[in-house]
Amino acid sequence: MSWRWGDRLALAAAWAAGISLCAIAAAIVLYMGYRGIQYLRPSLIFSRPQASLTQAGSGGFLDPLLGTMLLTVIGIVLALPLALASAAWIAEYGRPSWLARIVESSIEIVAGTPDIVIAIFGLAVFQTRLLAPFSFTAEGGGVFGLSFFAAGTMMSLLALPPIYAATRDGLQAVPGHQREAAFALGKTRITTIRRILIPSVRSNIATGTTLGISRIIGSTAIVLLLLGTSRIEPQGAFPGINVLRGTGSSLTSYIYENSPAGEGGAPQKAYAAAFLLLIFVLVLNLIVDRIGRAQANATGLSPIGAVV
């Protein structure tokens, strides 16, 4: 077999492309790790941000960290039931088929909508009078549409497609005899779904949820438009609910605000927060990988299709 020059060149290019992607990924992690170790201090994590002109006086990012967690919880709590119900309906009922097609394409449209558009849609929705109780409201009655609830609701739209897709694929892969066995034992369709099918696709749901979480913690646009970049400012009297109605920030908006693109100009703190965020993302990646590998071992399917 002879290798012509053109072939050798193409072979070299393919190797170069693959290796350089690895190099870029490694460079990002190593560089962020270096900066993170340089600037991340426990005191940054456990102190609240302060309004200050100097970097030393501006405090840490406890509030953004809590904000990220709160947004994740709200987003997942809202997205999970919706995604599971949709997936179960599509996979197990799916009639009438025109309706199923509408639902499928709607979820695909939501998945393809840029998060900046989802954010600005959220702003339009939560600035309406009707939904004013759910968000930050000025003394004069102006509705700003900024709150944890508003941002979290929009976050659930980000998390919905991956959870839905993973669950649906899992349900479609469940062999038919499991359903038939359940029906033969006199279980109704709903019970079968609840007791047999959903538990058997638990690992798919976990994968989808993890992907959803990493989309939520990485989203900046929604936080910038719907939550702001401030400390957690509760709104109203009821504890708990007042936080949901109030404004705050997340790690992503903190990074943006403290980078030269924002106002703060505290790149060291941006680096520290970005390092923390990257660690979260890495851990979530690892979880997805683990679940995928366990599943591949159990079913003997190669995980090649699940590169991302």
Binding site: L11, G18, S86, V117, G218, S259
Partner: protein, 307 residues
């Protein structure tokens, strides 16, 4: 409950469309064209906080559309070349041990949040380009028009390419995996070397998937807002190819990054209409692209053995 998702989609379109209505009322579709001073128009909109006169709504947003098309277009073309090469590398060429390392790395690139890409872009790449790659001569040559800091087309395209390539790789790898191995084996048995076999048999077979990957990646590139706002220089400016190498360093702004930039002034009625107009345009482009992606992928169905 599934119906709720459909309602949400309708609500997105309705809300965004109604909010942008004044823009269409005053400009028709001609706000998509060029020929005005975009920065002056936006400033006028921002300043008019109450009861704006009809003239305030005047907008010619072509620079933003041009910026969006330019960055996404270049990034997708570059990314497609890299993605095809590295997918072939991962699936066909690399030893199993190597691809076991490459796959998680690519997945990692896909999951790094855009704000981290933006941070690295603005704190590492922009100063590097500004200090070492742009010559003083180039800075002086355009200093009356625009300041070259390093933030601009080049950095935006580089970072955007890194962001969208993993998406394409995922889709292309999936398609490569679904091509029956016997086809390639047949080609190899006929005396083609593995690389030629890939080029002659496998790649033509998955051409629809490659195009679909490019289409979906451009949808992603269009909507990227925060990263671009951070590294593109944030100016209402259109880079001009006529400027030679300086073209690569000129700042720009895209539809999505303009929304991020203008978010604070959004209570001004005219500006609000304009920003929702941008969002509507993005929404329809993304929608059109995902329909296109679906349509080009249809012929691929016949190769699929499962799923």
């Amino acid at each position: 409950m599934s119906l709720l998702v459909g309602i949400v989609v309708v609500a997105i379109v309705v809300f965004v469309a109604t909010k942008s209505w004044p823009l269409f009322q005053h400009n028709g579709l001609s706000w998509l064209l060029g020929g005005g001073d975009l920065e002056a128009e936006i400033n006028k909109m921002t300043a008019a906080t109450t009861k704006p006169a009809a003239s305030v709504f005047h907008l010619r947003a072509w620079p933003l559309i041009y910026g969006t098309l330019l960055t996404s277009g270049i990034a997708v073309v570059l990314g497609m070349v890299i993605a095809v090469l590295s997918s072939v590398f991962i699936v066909e060429l690399a030893p199993a041990r190597v691809s076991r390392i490459v796959i998680p790395m690519v997945r990692l690139l896909a999951s790094v949040p855009s704000v981290i890409y933006g941070l690295i872009g603005i704190l590492v790449l922009v100063p590097f380009v500004g200090n070492h790659i742009i010559t003083t001569h180039e800075k002086v040559s355009v200093e009356n028009v625009v300041q070259l800091t390093g933030a601009g087309l080049l950095v935006t395209v580089v970072v955007l390419t890194v962001m969208i390539t993993p998406i394409m790789i995922a889709l292309i790898c999936e398609a490569l995996g679904s091509v029956p191995p016997s086809w390639r084996e047949g080609a190899v048995a006929l005396g083609l070397n593995p690389l030629r076999a890939v080029r002659a048999v496998t790649l033509p077979a998955i051409r629809p998937a490659i195009i679909a990957a490019a289409v979906l990646a451009s949808a992603r590139a269009l909507g990227e807002a925060v990263m671009i706002e951070m590294v593109s220089g944030g100016k209402f400016f259109s880079p001009k190819p006529i400027d030679g190498t300086v073209f690569l360093f000129e700042p720009l702004r895209t539809l999505a990054s303009a929304i991020v930039d203008l978010r604070d002034g959004i209570d001004a009625p005219a500006l609000k209409a304009a920003v929702y107009g941008f969002a509507l345009l993005l929404l329809f482009s993304a929608f059109a692209l995902s329909v296109t992606g679906y349509l080009v992928k249809l012929p691929l169905r016949k190769y699929q053995t499962r799923g």
